[in-house]
């Protein structure tokens, strides 16, 4: 039935958005994960990607969390001569995570999740109303 299919498709959206949320959580949690020794790299920001594919069983396009890519923008630098990973100039490389950007991404994931939730509850209401015809 098409209504159950749309619930399944929306569920795939929920799954991928929660995966995106996990990646954002990793970025935010590691916003200060600098290098522990000289020459080591700090945490590199992760970017979630979405992959669409046709579910043969459902006969509909669903979405999956694709490969999580790495952000190639340069790292932030911080002046901290006492840090064990500081270079000769006293600079330490810090992760290329901007917590403002992460917060906006989080809001976007939240909105998209809510849209999919609304679709599920609307679909359920439609099924419910259809069954209610039998009762009257």
């Amino acid at each position: 039935m098409d209504l159950f299919k749309s619930i399944a498709v929306a569920a795939s959206g929920l799954r991928s958005q929660s995966g995106r949320m996990r990646v954002i959580a990793e970025n935010l949690a590691n916003a200060d994960s600098g290098p522990d020794r000289a020459g080591a790299e700090p945490y590199r920001r992760k970017i979630p990607t979405f992959q669409r594919h046709v579910d043969r069983e459902l006969d509909a396009q669903v979405v999956d969390l694709g490969r999580v890519q790495r952000d190639q923008t340069p790292f932030r630098t911080k002046f901290d001569p006492g840090h064990p990973a500081a270079n000769a100039a006293g600079q330490v490389q810090m992760p290329n995570v901007n917590s403002l950007v992460e917060t906006m991404d989080m809001r976007e994931a939240q909105r998209s999740y809510e849209a999919n939730l609304n679709l599920i509850s609307s679909t359920r209401r439609m099924i419910q109303r259809t069954i209610d015809i039998l009762r009257t």
Binding site: A11, I120, L134
Partner: protein, 107 residues
């Protein structure tokens, strides 16, 4: 669905019982079962399908509790089983209402 013919058959057979079994069993019953699928098998199949969906949602819930599955899967499985059960209950109510309607018929 073979509902009206089933109700007619049931009515006829009960009428036969009322006569102390002396009356010959009406032929409507046999023609009803010959014509379409058996009503009891229909109900059995519907129950089987509903129970199957219910089992699926149960196992999904167990998976989530043990941390092996996503809560989204439980929500979809429970929504599906709820719809299946509600459809079954609604159809059952309608069939029983039709049967009672026939039983109230003055003879």
């Amino acid at each position: 669905m073979a509902t009206p013919s089933f109700a007619a058959g049931a009515y006829a057979s009960i009428q036969g019982m009322g006569a102390g079994g002396l009356m010959r069993k009406p032929s409507t019953l046999t023609t009803a079962s010959d014509a379409g699928p058996d009503f009891s098998s229909l109900v059995g199949k519907a129950l089987e399908a509903t129970a199957d969906v219910g089992r699926k949602s149960d196992s999904q819930t167990a998976n989530v509790v043990s941390g092996r599955s996503d809560i989204v899967d439980v929500v979809t499985a429970v929504a599906e089983s709820e719809a299946a059960i509600e459809t079954l209950v609604a159809v059952r109510d309608r069939v029983i209402a039709a049967y009672e309607e026939i039983m109230r018929m003055p003879v």
